[in-house]
């Protein structure tokens, strides 16, 4: 759509944004960078007559590297551009998985407009598997206060648009002796394509090579990104051996049931996800 039959509101703080949303309710929606919405508008998907842009809410575009008690973490405002996240020195150093993931989202020009919050709220964004693997939290405004919860929990429980996502929080995780992490996106082409299967993981091993923590996440296509919790359970306390890999393969096929689309079957996504996880784990074979 060249021009939208809608009015645009540009609140400058969270409370104002929230009150506009309350006022217009179903007649409105929040707009972050708008890059995804444009693809929908262009298809003729309907949109509400009141658009509440969050781009002028400066507090949503801040980044804070903080220590609270024993906890060190990075707060990324939800309106932070994907490009900013991708190139941020702290993210590159401490949470490079996220930087790697964002590098594979769309293309540079879009990442200069699209935001981390938009990617997360979309619910299928390619940053999500990496964020799940990093055990990220989200902060949101529910009309009264800002609440914090695990992204994993939030994805599984949130009701659309009931809250205003204010940020993503990356905790510094406990270091094992050896930490391996990976993010693999299989798109329909080498770059600038939606995901068919995305797999991300963070795996810690102690000095003896025993896995002492693991987080694995998969997504892609119209499949909600999810943790592979059964597979994680299987791996904890184990050393990587060929037989274990075979079990891991079967467990992933068992717990990941992606849906098909016209381009790829659910089976292809399962096999590919399992293959990628196995190939990454096999590097750790002791």
């Amino acid at each position: 759509m060249r021009v939208l039959a809608a009015k645009v509101w540009t609140p400058t703080d969270i409370e104002e944004a929230w009150s506009l949303r309350k006022k217009f309710h179903l007649e409105s929606c929040f707009v972050a960078g708008g890059t995804l919405l444009q693809t929908q508008w262009e298809k003729g998907v309907s949109y509400p007559p009141q658009l509440i842009s969050l781009e002028k809410v400066e507090e949503l575009e801040r980044m804070n590297y903080k220590t609270e008690g024993a906890k060190r973490f990075l707060q990324i405002g939800s309106m932070t551009k994907l490009a900013t996240c991708r190139n941020h020195p702290v993210i590159k150093e401490k949470w490079s998985l996220l930087s790697t993931a964002i590098q594979q989202i769309a293309a540079p020009a879009i990442r200069n407009l699209g935001t981390i919050g938009g990617n997360v709220v979309y619910g299928f964004g390619d940053a999500i598997p990496a964020l799940l693997a990093l055990d990220a939290e989200v902060s949101y405004f529910d009309g009264k206060t800002i609440k914090i919860e695990k992204l994993d929990h939030w994805l599984n429980t949130r009701q659309n648009n009931e809250v205003l996502l204010t940020g993503v929080i990356l905790p510094e995780y406990r270091h094992s002796s050896f930490v391996t992490q990976f993010y693999k996106k299989v798109g329909r082409r080498e770059a600038f394509s939606g995901s068919v299967v995305t797999v991300s993981g963070v795996i810690g091993q102690n000095d003896a090579g025993i896995i002492d923590f693991v987080r694995l996440a998969v997504g892609g296509g119209d499949n909600r990104p999810q943790r592979l919790k059964e597979t994680e359970q299987l791996l904890i306390g184990q050393m990587i051996k060929p037989l274990l890999l075979k079990n891991v393969y079967d467990t992933i096929l068992n717990e990941f049931h992606p849906i098909s689309d016209v381009f790829y079957s659910g089976d292809y996504r399962r096999w590919t996800a399992a293959n990628i996880v196995i190939s990454e784990l096999s590097r750790l074979e002791g």
């Binding site: 039959a5 645009v8 007559p49 540079p108 020009a109 407009l113 600038f192």
Partner: protein, 164 residues
Amino acid sequence: MADNKIAEKSSSSLIKISLIVNEQPRELVVDATMRLVDILREELQLTGTKISCGIGRCGVCSVMMDGKLVNSCLVRAYQANGKEIITIEGLGENGLHPIQKVFLEEGAFQCGYCTPGMIMAVKAMFDQYTHPTEEQILEGLSGNLCRCTGYGGIIRAVQKLSQS
């Protein structure tokens, strides 16, 4: 589109925006949701910026906004307000820009329709890296489709510029 029901919505809202386009301040009264690409092409007659997919998936409408590459089909008037825009017309105002020169020399275009956007993407890349690596070139130009050249000439041009 045609089979959708009619959008029975109040007519959209006009806003006044000011922006700097190719170093010239501009003030316009436009619809708040008018796309930047249409503002450039229709309001300002800067037709060097092209339009092709309308969803940010081809890059022909790429321009610089506050020093960053953006798809002007994805930017709406309210988002461009107060911003500084550079289009292909703003690049070679004092003779050809070095990027334009190497594009000419290395056959980095054929039909020329992706070219303005491609050149803006190359500019954004060289703004960031003086001597872009292979990975940086591939990432930097990943959002700009060219159907004619197969990208060979574009890569030759970029390599030449990087070495000069």
